[in-house]
């Protein structure tokens, strides 16, 4: 027997296998594609609405609104002024519209990730079996090259915003789920016992004790989720998502160095703004634990 060559499935069998899988998936797409698309229709409408709101409103208003959000979250003049300078520079260098598109996209993706991620995280924390089931799926989502799951997503939804959102959410949701799970599991058992002793129902325990105490960890999850969504912007631009990713993609294809750097820096700038604002907010949530009795 020949030990050098690995005994593999014959080339013909492999091709048949691929054809069979691809064929049945195509049939699935044809049969259910439209239904799936209609399910995501409201999401698309919302994203389009948010995007056009950010783009068509007068820029000083949008700028003020963004800075107001940053200030309410961080309560820090330094972070707010820094954000203002960054946004003004972005506008001055002609990237205002693309930046607004990206912000709309990231906002929607983060929202979807929060709405789906927190309940899954809670379920995971409540049951070891669910945790054992979900964990490998999360590993898969985080390590599978994003181009691979872009294929079926594009086959079902075509090019555009919705497949972009789905691809970004798949990539960005795992830390959201993991950190929600972790945060709830780390809640002090003494406090949980006290909640039980006073006759809390499962729901009361969740809302009064587990979620509030896990909130700082959950905030870290949201922060990670935003960062990872931004990291996916360029990949998403490959399936037709407009925003700061597209000029970067163009720059790569045409070796426009300055264009690439400028748009890249714009992504970095909004990443830093989001990061500082959410982190400062998370810190404020922990205020009660900082003041320690001397």
């Amino acid at each position: 027997m020949d030990w050098v060559e690995f005994p593999s499935l014959g080339r013909r069998d492999l091709r048949d296998l691929r054809l069979a899988v691809d064929g049945s998936f195509k049939e699935f797409t044809r049969a259910y594609g439209e239904t799936l698309e209609s399910i995501f229709e409201p999401l698309k409408t919302f994203l389009v609405w948010l995007e056009s709101l950010l783009i068509t409103s007068p820029w000083p208003l949008v700028l003020l609104a963004l800075l107001a959000i940053v200030f309410v979250m961080s309560r820090s003049v330094k972070i707010t002024v820094g954000s203002m300078i960054a946004l003004l520079l972005i506008g001055y260098f002609g990237m205002w519209e693309d930046t607004m598109r990206t912000i709309a996209m990231v906002a929607v993706c983060t929202l979807v990730a929060i709405v789906c991620g927190i309940p899954i995280g809670i379920l995971m924390a409540r049951s070891d079996r669910v945790q054992a089931l979900v964990n490998p799926v999360l590993d898969l989502m985080q390590t599978m090259p994003s181009f691979v799951y872009l294929i079926p997503v594009v086959m079902i939804f075509g090019l555009g915003k919705v497949p972009g959102v789905i691809a970004v959410v798949i990539y960005a949701i795992p830390p959201m789920i993991r950190l929600t799970n972790l945060g709830i599991r780390l809640v002090d058992t003494d406090v949980l016992e006290a909640a039980d002793a006073f006759g809390s129902s499962a729901w009361q325990k969740l809302t009064n004790v587990q979620l509030p105490l896990a909130l700082p960890t959950i905030m870290a999850g949201i922060n990670q989720c935003i960062m990872m969504s931004l990291a996916m912007v360029v990949v998403a631009s490959m399936i037709g998502v407009k925003g700061l990713g597209q000029p970067v993609l163009q720059a790569i294809n045409n070796q426009y160095f300055t264009m690439g750097v400028m748009n890249g820096l714009a992504i970095v700038a909004i990443a830093i703004i989001f990061d500082r604002a959410t982190q400062a907010y998370g810190k404020r949530l922990q205020k009660h634990s900082e003041v320690v009795h001397g």
């Binding site: 002090d188 003494d190 406090v191 016992e193 006290a194 039980d196 002793a197 006073f198 006759g199 809390s200 129902s201 009361q204 009064n208 004790v209 509030p212 105490l213 909130l215 009660h288 634990s289 900082e290 003041v291 320690v292 009795h293």
Partner: protein, 343 residues
Amino acid sequence: MAEATGIEIRNLYKIFGPDGETMVEKVKAGMSKTELNEDFNHVLGLNDINISMPGGKIQVVMGLSGSGKSTLIRHINRLIDPTAGEVLYGDEDVCKMSARELREFRRHKTAMVFQKFALLPHRTVMKNTVYGLEIQGVGAKEAEERAARWIARVGLEGFEDYYPNQLSGGMQQRVGLARALTNDADILLMDEAFSALDPLIRMDMQSVLLDLQEELHKTIVFITHDLDEALRLGDRIAILRDGAVIQQGTGQDIVLNPADEYISSFVKEVNRGRVIIVDTVMDRDNKLEGGLTIPTGVMLEEAAKSFADSGESKANVVDASGTPVGILTVQDTITAMVTPASH
């Protein structure tokens, strides 16, 4: 307030391990804790506990770590499920309650104070104190009014908006106490409530508890590893070792007649002058004509102080109406204070 209902614990067993039910039979047949652990890998938590906890009184359960005292108190509100036995509150068996009944029982009949305070760190003193009422569904305004009363009663007025982290251990436990009292429950469960506190603060909290009990008359179950604390607080004391009750009775009973070597070794260290009352020592057959009088129920230490102050060597012990009931001598007082009883 109507007299609080007592708690009856009957033939209670707790065995930790996957097959407790079968193991109970073996333990009932006389298997020891060590055997059970080595041969069957099950841990005997509680072994045939029978305690009748009187209503409106303080029942202390004393034992060292690993004696099962914390396990026992958690059976009263069923934070731990028993392997066999009954915990009766009135004519209800806590062990047979459905999940819903149990929740109602915990909400309205019991309140608990914990060794490590177990306060909600993200809530202020006020918000922690209303926790029990919030769970019961009492409106926020009424809850805060009721809580404010107890916050003031435990001496935390003005600290309502502080977070637990900003308070000292003693103050945190006052919050724990206020939270439990605000529940207005019949039964107060205190799991080593003062063990984590400094000695002085602990004494202070014991006084707070005794003062409160004088007006409230709740059924209090108090867990401790400290015999002095047990003697100071307990109307009745049960001593636990290796999951079994080895002696129960009043403080006097235990100090004067320790059931075995183990208990006498504890009792040796006790300040007997503060536990034994003159009634136990006096000579009931004689009466004095005039001279120093000491009321019944007074501790020996106090009697000794009366002797020292007056310079007398004999005194009449008198009851509430002033009738002499016996004679106490300096000699007897000192002897009783310094001679430890053996079993």
